[in-house]
């Protein structure tokens, strides 16, 4: 009892200003928390097939999410086939979860990704194993967000390594080309890169050739992510001591061998935590494809609000969208914090051993 009391005194009332801050926070909480909880829980409507039940109530209309959840999650994918995007989403999340575990970092992980992505493609498109064909114009919802983020990173990451190596090259033409590409993309908003892909790219293709809208957006996202990841990788490359390269050269390794076996493994290990942070930013940024008319998760949430019977529940809908994005991003950021803490722990353990 007395320890709790002394904790409160030490942490909440240690000085005049501190006590004032505590009282101000408690006062605000007493004023704002009860009405909010009433709105969000006590007076909320959780289930209703008729929007009038929501309009009569004085609380949140979570029934809206219940009513629209199939559309929000799967977009316009054929209703009775929606187990396919659901299975594909679970598979994709499992692949990511597995890739996060250090014990899984073996050659077979790449094979698992290729097999997994092939299976996801088969599930989503169908046309095989008796699954009806579904064209990708009908894909939408959460799976589209996950696919855009996954394919975006899968292609952007190798590209970013090439860009980062190119930026540090001794050959001026190569160096300037890479610096130009990286800085151009980083200097403009993502939306202009997406506009470039959606309205400008078709003008630059030979007559008759056309690229699917989804693929065009994916290309823009790859380019955008690669420019940002390249700077993270470059940071890792700069942190590898110069003597490592010199030692590799002294052993007679070629440039490619030195990079592949000596420099890159160290550089990438150093940049895992900032890479994951860039991944988080990229995952959030995929929501911008809404502006060029793709049906990602945020877009299905927004479109579901256009139903006149259920319009006016935007606050509830976007709180739900926030929660879903938050769960994904918070998982990634907890993982990244764990990674940052791990070397520190190892270093501390090493010090103790000495």
């Amino acid at each position: 009892m007395s320890s709790a009391f002394s904790w409160i005194r030490r942490n909440l009332f240690s000085s005049g200003p501190s006590a004032l801050a505590t009282l101000a926070i408690l006062w605000l909480a007493a004023r704002w928390l009860p009405p909010f909880l009433d709105w969000a829980f006590a007076h909320a409507v959780w289930q209703a097939s008729d929007p009038r039940a929501c309009r009569d109530a004085h609380g949140a209309c979570w029934a809206f999410i219940g009513e629209k959840h199939r559309f929000i999650l799967f977009g316009t994918y054929p209703f009775e086939q929606q187990w396919r995007p659901a299975a594909a989403s679970v598979l994709l999340i499992l692949l990511w979860a597995c890739s996060a575990i250090r014990r899984c970092w073996h050659g077979w992980l790449a094979a698992a990704w290729i097999a997994g992505l092939a299976l996801i493609g088969a599930l989503m498109w169908g046309g095989v194993l008796g699954l009806p064909y579904v064209e990708n114009e009908r894909w939408g919802g959460l799976i589209l967000t996950l696919l855009l983020a996954s394919f975006g990173l899968a292609f952007a990451f190798p590209l970013s390594i090439l860009l980062a190596l190119g930026r540090r090259s001794r050959l001026p033409v190569l160096r300037y080309a890479c610096v130009g590409a990286i800085e151009l993309v980083r200097g403009v908003p993502l939306i202009s890169v997406l506009f470039m892909a959606s309205v400008m790219l078709p003008l630059f293709l030979p007559a008759g050739a056309s690229i699917d809208k989804l693929l065009r957006a994916q290309l823009a996202l790859v380019l955008f992510a690669a420019a940002y990841l390249a700077e993270v990788v470059r940071g890792g490359l700069q942190a590898v001591p110069r003597a490592q390269v010199e030692a590799a050269e002294a052993l007679g390794l070629s440039y490619a061998q030195a990079m592949r076996h000596v420099v890159l493994p160290q550089a990438l290990r150093l940049s895992i935590a900032p890479l994951v942070n860039t991944f988080i930013g990229f995952f959030k940024d995929t929501s911008l494809v809404l502006i060029i008319g793709l049906f990602d998760f945020l877009s299905t949430v927004k479109v579901s609000l256009q139903d006149p019977a259920w319009s006016g529940f935007g606050v509830e809908a976007y709180l739900f969208a926030s929660l879903v994005y938050f769960l994904f991003c918070a998982a990634m950021s907890a993982y990244s914090r764990g990674l940052e803490a791990a070397p520190a722990r190892a270093a501390a353990a090493g010090l103790r051993r000495e």
Binding site: G187, P189, V199, L205, S287, Y325, F326
Partner: protein, 315 residues
């Protein structure tokens, strides 16, 4: 070895030139086939669309596309300039709160940063816009949290010296007003960027060695003077580069205005592209503006950085 490098570079330059030529000839053929003009002559033509918000420059639908784009640019600057000032203030306050000895305050600030950083800005903008337009009452029953400040679903109204907003008919007149679009964009940008600035401020202050504070205290400096003359000057040095990139992010993120209907540069350029079909020129205008902004801001920050850097220390 030298010859190989030269050959490689020549091949790369040739490949890039070839790619550029291929793209150019495709574009020329496509534009000719579709009957789309090229070049910037369209800027002088009449725009023919209204702009909802023209605070800094006068504009009507009879004005040129150039004028419309200038209005968009002014709107971008308006929200970005206000956003940078407010986000810095809020971010610094939250960053300091995270380091406060008060447990409740520090936890609250930490929860704010974690929540805001893990939700896409676009979702937050839609949320604020929905909150303003759906949850706030009509002007007739506007909330009045402070005398003269009115919150309604038609916008936010606040008094200017000697000019208090008055309800007339279905809306307010007098005072100053923020449209729902502008208010949602500003609140969203400030709330989002402040979370990132808070982390920069916190890291900057934590980077100042403990001995510096102890030394300041043993000299008998008060806590304020210690912060003002010892901690902040050293912390600022570390904070300037990441702060610059946050300011730039805020300016770039203001382009999300197009999604909630605030007429910023990107949204006007988008309308222009849709009306004229001149997508290349439209995207070029957007990119040119933002590249100019980011290059000049980084030049300015490099100059400032050199000024605050320790003399004689390696750059």
């Amino acid at each position: 070895m030298k010859a190989r490098g030269l050959a490689l570079q020549a091949a790369l330059a040739a490949a890039l030139a070839l790619l550029a030529w291929w793209l150019y000839s495709n574009a020329a053929a496509n534009l000719a086939a579709r009957g789309i003009a090229s070049g910037f002559a369209f800027l002088r033509r009449e725009a023919g669309f209204e702009i909802g918000e023209t605070t800094l420059l006068a504009y009507s639908a009879a004005d040129s596309y150039l004028r419309a784009l200038a209005v968009g640019l002014a709107n971008t600057f308006r929200v970005a300039a206000l956003g940078v000032v407010l986000a810095t203030a809020l971010g610094a306050a939250i960053g300091l709160a995270r380091l406060a000895p008060n447990w409740l305050l520090a936890r609250l600030a930490g929860a704010y940063v974690e929540t805001v950083r893990n939700i896409p800005l676009l979702v937050q903008l839609f949320f604020w816009y929905a909150l303003i337009t759906e949850s706030l009452p009509a002007p007739a029953d506007a909330l009045q949290p402070l005398p003269g400040l009115f919150l309604s679903n038609r916008g936010i109204f606040f008094p200017l010296p000697g000019d208090v907003p008055q309800l007339s008919g279905f809306n307010f007149s007098g005072g100053a007003a923020l449209t729902p679009e502008f208010a949602a964009l500003l609140v969203g940008l400030v709330a989002y960027t402040a979370a990132f600035i808070a982390e920069i401020v916190r890291a900057g202050i934590l980077s100042v060695p403990r001995g510096q504070r102890d030394a300041a205290r043993s000299l008998g400096l008060a806590r304020r003077a210690e912060l003002r003359h010892v901690v902040l000057p050293q912390a600022l040095r570390l904070m300037v580069p990441p702060m610059t990139s946050q300011y730039l992010n805020l300016a770039k993120n203001s382009s999300l205005a197009v999604a909630i209907g605030y007429p910023d540069l990107v949204s006007i350029a988008n309308t222009t592209m849709n009306q004229t079909g001149q997508a290349i020129e439209g995207v070029a205008v957007i990119m040119a503006v933002f590249l100019t902004l980011s290059l000049s801001l980084s030049a300015l920050m490099n100059w400032y950085n050199r000024r605050v850097a320790l003399r004689g220390s390696p750059a």
